[in-house]
Symmetry: C2
Subunit: 183 residues, 2 copies
DNA sequence: ACTTAGATAGAATGACCTTTCTAATTTTCA
DNA sequence: TGAAAATTAGAAAGGTCATTCTATCTAAGT
């Protein structure tokens, strides 16, 4: 059932959408770089919007397996590990802005599923850190979770300006102070 | 020399570009909402890209007069004032992402002036905080400036998720800790 | 070897895009 | 008032876009 063509399409589409934006990439370019016929795309995806949806889902899966594989939840400093893992993700996969934020901006208020998927990812990130804070027995877990998330988002934006290494260095430094401060 | 039509066009274009993205808005919609003929637009702007450029310049001017009017450079805590001012800007003018970051993403690598203008704004922000740190006699001025900028960028992104008030609350709290920590 | 499903190239469609053109009308101000 | 400049509506050109439709071809499994 799994199709190599479909996987190629998803891979190419994710790269191009990330590089030039959802609206900045046409299907023609995608099928051309994927070495696939038009109808092959439409056999696997019902529309361009549907392709965008699948791309976002795939990217989210990849993001979480990235985080999961780098964060030992029971470690002394899971927050720091998460910020560091996010930094690696930035360096390798997200050096110019965040795809989910971009999807939210591009499709906000147009009544489609894309915005929901993108917002879902962000919500999950917040919940992730809230649970982490809970496990650590912090009383102000929600605040800490929001602040750590803010640091992640900040480092993502800053990556465009000063590179992933420096952005991550700064966010880790601040996360350390933060965790220490809310013990 | 100043034309009311041109101002209307800039105002309408800025609103629509921010709301739906540069590529998501057509000139037809802009001239329609500005109650202006096609040729009026082309009399004042040489192309759509040129319109985008002027919109960005205008927005940057507005951003800086916002900051300047709220930040007393010689105050005890100009950093905190700046973060707070940025928070007000978010609430009133930038509730869903940052227009400059978006311009950088949308036009990166397409060899045009737009990306330069957008990056210029971000560079200026960094320099602003570096000078502030210098005036305060901090030895690690560059680090503090980068971190404060990271907090601003983070609060901008978080505004889309939790609103400007909470995002600003968190960034101010973190900025306080930071300034205190690097005295 | 036959069948069936998937993939192919390429054209057709209709919508929308930016930019240019024209010719009539309105505004500005000396 | 009269001349110059700005603005108008609308069409046209020339692209690109997403989507659909052919009709041929390839590959797999029985």
């Amino acid at each position: 059932m799994k199709s190599v063509k479909k996987d190629t399409l998803l891979e190419v589409a994710e790269r191009l959408f990330y590089e030039h934006g959802f609206r900045g990439v046409g299907l023609k370019q995608i099928i051309s770089e994927a070495n696939v016929a038009t109808m092959t795309l439409y056999n696997h995806f019902s529309s361009k919007d549907n392709l965008v949806e699948e791309v976002l889902k795939q990217r989210e899966e990849r993001y979480w397996s990235y985080l999961d594989s780098h964060v030992e939840m029971d470690s002394d400093s899971p927050f720091i590990l998460a910020v560091r893992a996010h930094g690696r993700w930035l360096k390798e996969q997200s050096y110019k802005g965040d795809m989910f934020l971009r999807a939210i901006e591009d499709y906000a208020g147009t009544d489609n599923e894309i915005e929901n998927i993108a917002r879902g990812h962000k919500t999950r990130l917040l919940k992730y850190f809230q649970q982490l804070a809970l496990k650590k027995g912090k009383d102000n877990g929600r605040d800490l979770a929001n602040q750590i998330t803010l640091l992640l988002e900040g480092s993502t934006s800053m990556t465009t300006l000063i590179g992933a290494e420096k952005a991550t260095e700064y966010s880790i430094a601040m996360a350390r102070i933060l965790v220490q401060h809310t013990l």
